[in-house]
C-alpha cells in the first residue's frame, strides 16, 4: 500500500473509533431502559459528529489539498453548524 | 452614446419576457404576502369559527388581491416560456424543453389558481356555513402546498438538461440548486398528514424553510436568465461568456482553470 492509502486507512480507523465510542456514551448515560436527559452527552455527541464531519471533509473530500478559500469556508461551515445547533439547543433549554 | 440593451432588435422580445417575469414574481409576492395575507398560510388546526374569523379579517384583501391575480396571472407564462427558451438553447434534445413547458403550464392550476378560487369563494359570502368555509380553506392551502409533483419533476428535467448541456447556458451549480428545490417538494408532502407541528402546511420545515430555499432558487434563476439574455448570440453553439467583470459570478469553475 502506498503512503497515501495508509493515510486514508488511518483516517477511516479514527472515524470508526469515534463512532464506536458512542456505544460507550450510551452505557455511561444512565441505567439502561431508563432514559435520562444529559446536556453533556448532547453537546459531546454534536461536537464529536462535527469533528468527524471536518475529518471527512479534509481527508476524504481532499479539502486539505484545496485552495485556502475552500479550506477556510468548510471550517467556517463546520463552526456555523455547531454554533447553530448548540445555540438552538441551549436557547430551547432556557425557554423550556 | 451606447444604445440601451432594450432597443437591441433581436433581444427585445427576450427582455420583454424577462421584465414580465420579474413583474409576475413581484406581483405574486405582494398579493400573497401583503394584500391577501394568505402567506404565511393560515393555521391548519383552526375550527370552523376561527376560519370564519380568518376570512373576515382578510375579506377585502382576498377579493381585491386575487382579482388582480386572475387578471394578470397569465404573466406566469412569460417565465415558463423564457425558461423553456433557455432549455431549447441548450445542446440537449428538445424533448427536455417540451416536457418542461407542458409540466409547468399545468402547474399554474395547483400553483396558484386553486387557492385563488377557493379563497375568493370563501371571502365572497361571509354568511356561508362555517363548515363549508373551512372546507374551502383546507382546499386552498392543501392544493397550494401539497400538489408538488409537477414542480418536482419539472426541476429534475431542468437539472438534467443543464448537466448534459454543452452550450453552457446555465452554470452547473444552478443544476444542483434545482435538485435542492426538487427536494423541497418532497419535504412538503407530509403537510397532507399533519395539522400541527413542523410538517403542517404552515410548519417551520414544510413552509418556512422551504420558502427560503424557493426564494433563493427563484432569485437565482431570474438573475441567470438575465445573464443568458445578455450572452445570447442566437446561434446553436456554446454561449459566449459575459465580459470579465461578470466572470466570477457565473462560472467560478472557469476561474484559475488550468
Amino acid at each position: 500500500m502506498s503512503t497515501f492509502n495508509k493515510r486514508l486507512f488511518a483516517v477511516w480507523l479514527i472515524l470508526v473509533g469515534i463512532t464506536a465510542s458512542y456505544l460507550w456514551i450510551d452505557h455511561s448515560a444512565g441505567q439502561r431502559g431508563v432514559p435520562t436527559a444529559s446536556t453533556v452527552i448532547t453537546v459531546g455527541a454534536i461536537c464529536f459528529a462535527l469533528i468527524k464531519v471536518r475529518i471527512i471533509m479534509r481527508e476524504f473530500m481532499e479539502v486539505r489539498g484545496a485552495p485556502q478559500l475552500l479550506c477556510r469556508l468548510t471550517d467556517f461551515w463546520v463552526v456555523l453548524m455547531g454554533v447553530a445547533m448548540l445555540g438552538v439547543y441551549f436557547a430551547g433549554k432556557a425557554v423550556a | 452614446m451606447k444604445r440601451p440593451a432594450l432597443l437591441d432588435e433581436p433581444k427585445r422580445e427576450l427582455w420583454l419576457a424577462w421584465y414580465a417575469t420579474v413583474a409576475f414574481y413581484s406581483l405574486y409576492a405582494i398579493v400573497f404576502f401583503l394584500v391577501t395575507r394568505t402567506q404565511p398560510p393560515g393555521k391548519p388546526w383552526y375550527d370552523p369559527t376561527q376560519v370564519v374569523g380568518w376570512f373576515a379579517n382578510r375579506h377585502d384583501g382576498l377579493l381585491i388581491g386575487f382579482a388582480i391575480i386572475f387578471v394578470l396571472g397569465g404573466l406566469s407564462a412569460t417565465s415558463i416560456a423564457l425558461i423553456t427558451y433557455s432549455i431549447r438553447r441548450m445542446s440537449v434534445s428538445r424533448a427536455f424543453s417540451y416536457s418542461y413547458l407542458v409540466l409547468y403550464a399545468v402547474s399554474a392550476v395547483p400553483g396558484f389558481l386553486f387557492i385563488c378560487v377557493a379563497m375568493t369563494v370563501g371571502a365572497m359570502r361571509p354568511e356561508r356555513n362555517p363548515v363549508i368555509q373551512r372546507w374551502l380553506y383546507d382546499l386552498g392551502f392543501l392544493s397550494f402546498s401539497g400538489t408538488m409533483g409537477v414542480f418536482l419533476i419539472g426541476s429534475l428535467i431542468w437539472m438534467t438538461a443543464i448537466l448534459l448541456d454543452k452550450n453552457r447556458v446555465f452554470p452547473k451549480w444552478f443544476a444542483y440548486l434545482n435538485l435542492c428545490n426538487a427536494l423541497t417538494e418532497v419535504v412538503v408532502a407530509p403537510s397532507w398528514i399533519f395539522h400541527v407541528g413542523a410538517f403542517a402546511w404552515n410548519g417551520v420545515i414544510a413552509w418556512w424553510i422551504n420558502v427560503v430555499v424557493f426564494g433563493v432558487y427563484t432569485g437565482a434563476f431570474i438573475y441567470l436568465l438575465r445573464c443568458m439574455i445578455l450572452r445570447e448570440d442566437f446561434g446553436t453553439g456554446p454561449l459566449p461568456d459575459l465580459p470579465s467583470r461578470h466572470w466570477h459570478t457565473i462560472f467560478p469553475a472557469e476561474v484559475g482553470a488550468s
Binding site: T19, I56 | C180, V204, I209, A253
Partner: protein, 197 residues
C-alpha cells in the same frame, strides 16, 4: 518562490492546489448543509421542549444499529476516496472496483435502513405516532432520498471510469464529493437521533 513540504505531508505544493471536483458541487454541498442544519435546529428545539417524551420514544431505537449504519457509510466513503486516488493515478480497473464497493456498501445501508423502519413500524412506531418519530422518519427519509440520488451519481462515476473517451478526473471527484456529503449528513443525523440525550 520556494514551496516547503512538511516531511509527512502528502499535500500537493501550494501552486498545484485544486478544488476537488466541480466548485459547483461544493456550492450544493454548502447550501444543502445549511438546509439540513436548519432541520436539525428545528429538531433540537422541539427536543428541548418535550424532553421526556422524546427520550421515551428514542429508547426504542437500537444504538448499535445506528453505529453499524454509520460504519457502513464511512467505509463506503473510504472506498470512493480510494477510487478517486486510483483514477488520478490511472489505475482505472482498481478505481472501478472501489466504485462498485461504494455502491455495494450503500446498498447494505439501504437494506439496514429498510429493515430498521420495518421493525419500528412493526412495533407500532410510525411517522405519526410521536413527535420524535415524526423527526426520525423525516430525517432518515430525506437522507434516504439523498442516498438514492447517490446511487445515480455512483452510476455516473462507474460509466465515467469505464470509457476511456469519457473519463474526466473532475467528474470523478465531483461524484465522490456528492457521496461524501451523503455520508457526513448521516454522521450528523445519527448523532442527533440516536445519541443525543
Amino acid at each position: 518562490m520556494t514551496t516547503t513540504e512538511s516531511p509527512a505531508s502528502l499535500l500537493p505544493p501550494k501552486s498545484s492546489r485544486h478544488v476537488p471536483g466541480q466548485p459547483d458541487m461544493w456550492v450544493f454541498v454548502l447550501f444543502e448543509s445549511l438546509v439540513f442544519t436548519s432541520y436539525f435546529c428545528v429538531y433540537l428545539y422541539a427536543r428541548t421542549q418535550h424532553e421526556a417524551a422524546f427520550l421515551r420514544s428514542q429508547a426504542h431505537l437500537l444504538l448499535w444499529l445506528g453505529v453499524l449504519d454509520t460504519v457502513v457509510l464511512l467505509t463506503s466513503s473510504w472506498a470512493v476516496a480510494r477510487c478517486v486516488q486510483h483514477a488520478r493515478a490511472g489505475r482505472y480497473g482498481l478505481a472501478r472496483r472501489d466504485a462498485w464497493v461504494t455502491a455495494g456498501l450503500g446498498f447494505v445501508f439501504l437494506v439496514l435502513k429498510i429493515v430498521e423502519w420495518a421493525r419500528l413500524i412493526h412495533f407500532g412506531h410510525t411517522f405519526t405516532s410521536t413527535q420524535f418519530f415524526q423527526y426520525y422518519f423525516f430525517l432518515t427519509a430525506i437522507h434516504f432520498v439523498h442516498l438514492l440520488i447517490g446511487f445515480v451519481v455512483i452510476g455516473v462515476l462507474i460509466l465515467q471510469l469505464k470509457d476511456p473517451r469519457r473519463r474526466r478526473q473532475e467528474t470523478v471527484e465531483t461524484c465522490a464529493t456528492y457521496w461524501h456529503t451523503v455520508d457526513f449528513f448521516w454522521v450528523l443525523i445519527f448523532a442527533l437521533l440516536y445519541v443525543v440525550r
